[in-house]
């Protein structure tokens, strides 16, 4: 094995794009490990941990660290992949000087919505540009300091704008799915969610029941915390109350701060549009029962939620989640050990587990015989284009090791990954698959008794 370490100046690509380059390189024959990343302290440490000798480098520089039989061949492929990334930038550059800030993009006049997904420490400036330009903004980035979130939301409130996110990567506006969102049909239900996967669970179940959405506004997982005070949730509720396409509103949140929940409920009481609340950890019940309530209110039948079940034997439940709200919901239903791999501590400097399942697969492989793995798989825009591809072999291996796998599969048939295709692949590999996370958790819990 030969090693190559180099630091390239004057090249920038976002972390997800570079992760895809790293993965493509690692998949080459004879390549043991490949790290292609911006030289942030975190990535430098990562490369050191992999046994590379790393020269000093700045976060604005590109770090390449390779170990392969044929380093020259790998470098050639690297150049090609980076070239592909750059050629996309050149294409936009030839059409004039491309905007370098959201402020300057907004000045071009066409944009009416902003999606921010730069690293969290830099998201503030871009989001502020949007607020100052009077545009609604969705902050997909996580690791945004809470005081910056508070400031942005207050400013937006003053200016009649709307800040969605941060760290709650979902919104569907005018039919367009921003961040992690499912392919949903248009319909009468407006969603306000301080929870990304919570919104995805409810809207996906509604879609299975043939009911569509008007708007899905993910207001950030901390919105109903004491610090943020529900500013965006209340603003979003009022906006949906004004929206003629919205006949019914669903409000979804992880367990909220009690006094904020109270204030939000006061706003809810004053709306003309009926509201179903699903505030986890309160008396509201789980997301599946909230969905059933919505269907009831619309006079629609509640279907049997699709599932591909298998019997499971007793075992303690280990929750390996990518969605924070789904994780919380499941932990409220069944006792066990739960880890939310979408939490900021796991996503700092690496891709979200809905895009890169590595950490969860490692955790799955480490479970003890007899344990029950409870996992979510979330489909839709932005998510892994084929999660079953990596997950199915891991499930087979786990099953062989006497670990039982129960999966909550959140998505719609219209999603790029296809709900049924994924469900069948996961089921075939040995997992029980439920479209309702609550049912999945109960299934796992039933086995635990």
């Amino acid at each position: 094995m030969n090693s190559l370490v180099k630091v390239v100046q004057g090249v920038y690509h976002d972390s997800v794009s570079l992760m895809r380059v790293s993965q493509a390189l690692s998949a080459l024959q004879g390549v043991e490990v490949a790290v292609v990343a911006m030289a942030t302290p975190l990535n430098l440490d990562l490369a050191r941990d992999l046994g590379f000798e790393i020269p000093p480098a700045e976060p604005s520089e590109l770090l390449v660290a390779l170990r392969a039989e044929d380093v020259t061949a790998a470098t050639g492929e690297l150049e090609r992949l980076l070239g592909e990334l750059s050629s996309r930038s050149v294409a936009t550059e030839s059409a004039g000087f491309p905007p370098r800030t959201t402020r300057s993009a907004a000045r071009l006049g066409e944009g009416n919505l902003v999606l921010v997904s730069v690293p969290g420490e830099h998201a503030f400036g871009e989001a502020l540009d949007a607020v100052e330009a009077g545009l609604p903004v969705m902050i997909f980035s996580d690791n945004v300091p809470v005081e910056q979130e508070v400031l942005l939301k207050r400013l937006a409130e003053e200016r009649g704008g709307l800040v969605m996110g941060p760290d709650c990567g979902t919104a569907v506006i005018g039919g367009a799915g921003l961040g992690f969102a499912n392919v949903l049909r248009p319909g009468p239900v407006g969603v306000v969610a301080a929870s990304g996967t919570g919104a995805q669970q409810v809207t996906s179940l509604l879609d299975l029941a043939g009911v569509g959405v008007s708007q899905v506004l993910g207001v950030g997982s901390r919105d109903l915390s004491e610090q943020v005070g529900g500013v965006s949730a209340m603003r979003a509720l009022r906006l949906l109350d004004e929206d003629p396409a919205t006949e019914l509103i669903v409000l979804i949140s992880k367990p909220p701060a009690p006094e904020v929940a109270g204030a939000v409920r006061e706003v809810v009481d004053k709306l003309r549009t009926p509201v179903v609340t699903a505030l986890l950890g309160t008396s509201d019940g789980d997301l599946t029962s909230a969905t059933a309530q919505v269907l009831d209110r619309l006079g629609r039948p509640v279907p049997d939620w699709l599932s591909w079940s298998r019997p499971v034997a007793k075992g303690s439940v280990r929750g390996l989640y990518s969605g924070g709200t789904l994780c919380t919901e499941a932990s409220l239903i069944t006792p066990g050990g739960f880890v939310d791999y979408g939490d900021d501590v796991f996503t700092r400097g690496r891709a979200h587990p809905m895009i890169d399942a590595t950490l969860r697969l490692e955790a799955l492989a480490k479970l003890e015989p007899g344990e029950v793995a409870l996992m979510d798989v979330v489909l839709g825009h932005g998510a892994d284009p084929d999660p079953a591809l990596r997950l199915a072999p891991a499930i087979e291996a786990a099953t062989r090791g006497d670990v039982q796998v129960v999966i909550a599969l959140v998505g719609t048939e219209g999603d790029p990954q296809g709900l049924r295709r994924q469900a069948e692949a996961l089921h075939q590999a040995g997992a029980s698959v439920f479209t309702s996370n609550a049912q999945a958790a109960r299934h796992a819990a039933g086995s635990a008794r």
């Binding site: 000087f97 997904s117 400036g125 871009e126």
Partner: protein, 459 residues
């Protein structure tokens, strides 16, 4: 009106993956070519951007810069105009000592000492300057600017420009022409002789002519010159012609004995108008000074050793970095080895949205500064990314009469990593050499990083 668009057009900034997901949905979008900010600015940026004063402060500051109406109102000796006393010498850029001064700066100071008869020989002048028995002070500290070395001594005459909108006044020396001249550090007998003639003939004649014309509207003149191919830093040919057209009849009336001589001198120097343009830029940027919380750059200046910037929200403090060596074309046999680091207050033109920022207006000089016409357009376009406004009067025909990018925001510089584009002349590094070329220079990022951090964290 609804806030949520029925037909979304999304501005995407960040991960390509999410942009591609929108493309697959046939959602039109405008991608931002985002880069991480300049090194060491993330914390300062967060703080400056969060300052509740910033938005209104910048609006006020840049509004004042845009609305300034510079008028040329007089020509006076520096002793009279600036109250400059014998033994005090002004210079370009941030403060500097004789010890740290570069070749051309030293040469110009020697010349000025000789001009003021404070020494009889070059050696004596050097001793005087090295002995610390003269006072050196930046032009900028006296409401003045000077090209290249920018050395001003009491007997030199100055253009006096008043801002008819906000009432400020700014000064700039008279241009000596090209070749061996004091501002490039030359101090030979012919240089001193020319300066003496400028003091005895040129200055008084211009003063008398201006009394006949009354105040000359420089805002209007600069606007016209931009439409005639000048960018008002490295090309002033059109502006000089327009200026002389205004002055000529008055000169003939007011100073018949010297009119021909004066017109021949000024007409033979395409840069004659650079100095009034600089005073106009100075009076305009000065109008934007002193707004607490504003991240607007109100001065960029170089002394041949350091490149310094000042911010509206931080008074007279300078933030500096090492002056770079310009990249451009060299005269005759000169080359980069002969070049002095960047020098002069003329970057006040860029600070006010002219010069490099208006490069797209001056296709004639793009070769001179080492590029193609497309580069000039790109240079101007890129400056819209770091400026707060577009000038209502200074327009660029080739960009559909779009206003020039004006009002550098140090926060935008840090966010985009784009440094101001500066056009400049290049001085020889050895005192007395004079001009060796002209080109583009990139300011040191340190100066902007330091300014931003001070705005963020200093009381």
């Amino acid at each position: 009106m609804t806030l949520l668009p029925a037909d979304p057009h999304v501005i995407t900034v960040g991960a390509d993956l999410l942009g591609e997901a929108l493309d697959a949905q046939a959602v039109p979008r405008t991608p931002v070519e985002w880069r991480p900010p300049l090194r060491g600015t993330a914390a300062a940026l967060a703080r400056v951007l969060a300052d509740p004063r910033r938005s209104a402060a910048n609006e006020l500051a840049v509004g004042r810069l845009l609305s300034a109406r510079p008028q040329l109102v007089g020509v006076r000796p520096a002793a009279d105009a600036l109250g400059l006393e014998r033994g005090t010498f002004l210079h370009a850029g941030p403060p500097i000592t004789w010890e740290r001064a570069s070749g051309p700066m030293r040469g110009a100071l020697i010349g000025a000492v000789l001009l003021e008869d404070m020494a009889a020989t070059e050696e004596e002048a050097r001793r005087l300057l090295a002995g610390g028995r003269v006072r050196l002070d930046p032009c900028h500290h006296h409401g003045a600017v000077g090209p290249m070395a920018g050395v001003v001594s009491p007997s030199m005459w100055m253009f006096e420009v008043r801002d008819a909108e906000h009432g400020g006044t700014a000064y700039c020396s008279l241009n000596e022409g090209l070749g061996k001249v004091l501002r490039y550090g030359a101090y030979g007998p012919e240089v001193l002789e020319r300066l003496r003639w400028m003091g005895s003939v040129l200055g008084p004649s211009l003063r008398d002519a201006l009394r006949v014309t009354g105040p000359i509207d420089l805002r209007g003149l600069i606007a016209q010159a931009l439409q005639m191919g000048d960018e008002l830093h490295n090309r002033n040919r059109a502006a000089t012609s327009l200026f002389l057209r205004e002055l000529a009849p008055a000169l003939v009336e007011a100073a018949p004995a010297h009119a021909a001589q004066v017109l021949r001198f000024a007409g033979g120097n395409d840069h004659f108008f650079l100095n009034p343009a600089m005073a106009a830029a100075k009076v305009s940027t000065d109008a934007a000074r002193g707004v607490p919380g504003s991240s607007l750059v109100v001065a960029m200046a170089r002394n041949g050793t350091d490149f310094g910037v000042q911010l509206s929200g931080l008074g007279d403090r300078w933030f500096t970095g090492p002056a770079g060596v310009p990249d451009g074309l060299y005269l005759g046999a000169y080359g980069p080895a002969d070049a002095n680091p960047d020098i002069g207050d003329s970057t006040i033109t860029e600070t006010s949205g002219l010069g490099g920022f208006a490069m797209a207006a001056a296709p004639a000089i793009v070769k001179f500064v080492g590029g193609e016409v497309g580069d000039a357009i790109t240079a101007t376009r890129s400056m819209y990314e770091i400026t707060l406004a577009e000038h209502p009067a200074y327009q660029i025909p080739g960009l559909g009469f779009r206003g020039t990018p004006v009002g550098i925001d140090v926060a935008l510089v840090a966010r985009t990593g784009l440094l101001p584009v500066v056009n400049t002349g290049i001085a020889g590094r050895v005192a007395g050499t004079g001009q060796v070329g002209a080109g583009l220079v990139s300011p040191p990022a340190e100066a902007f990083i330091a300014a931003l951090n001070a705005l963020a964290f200093d009381k």
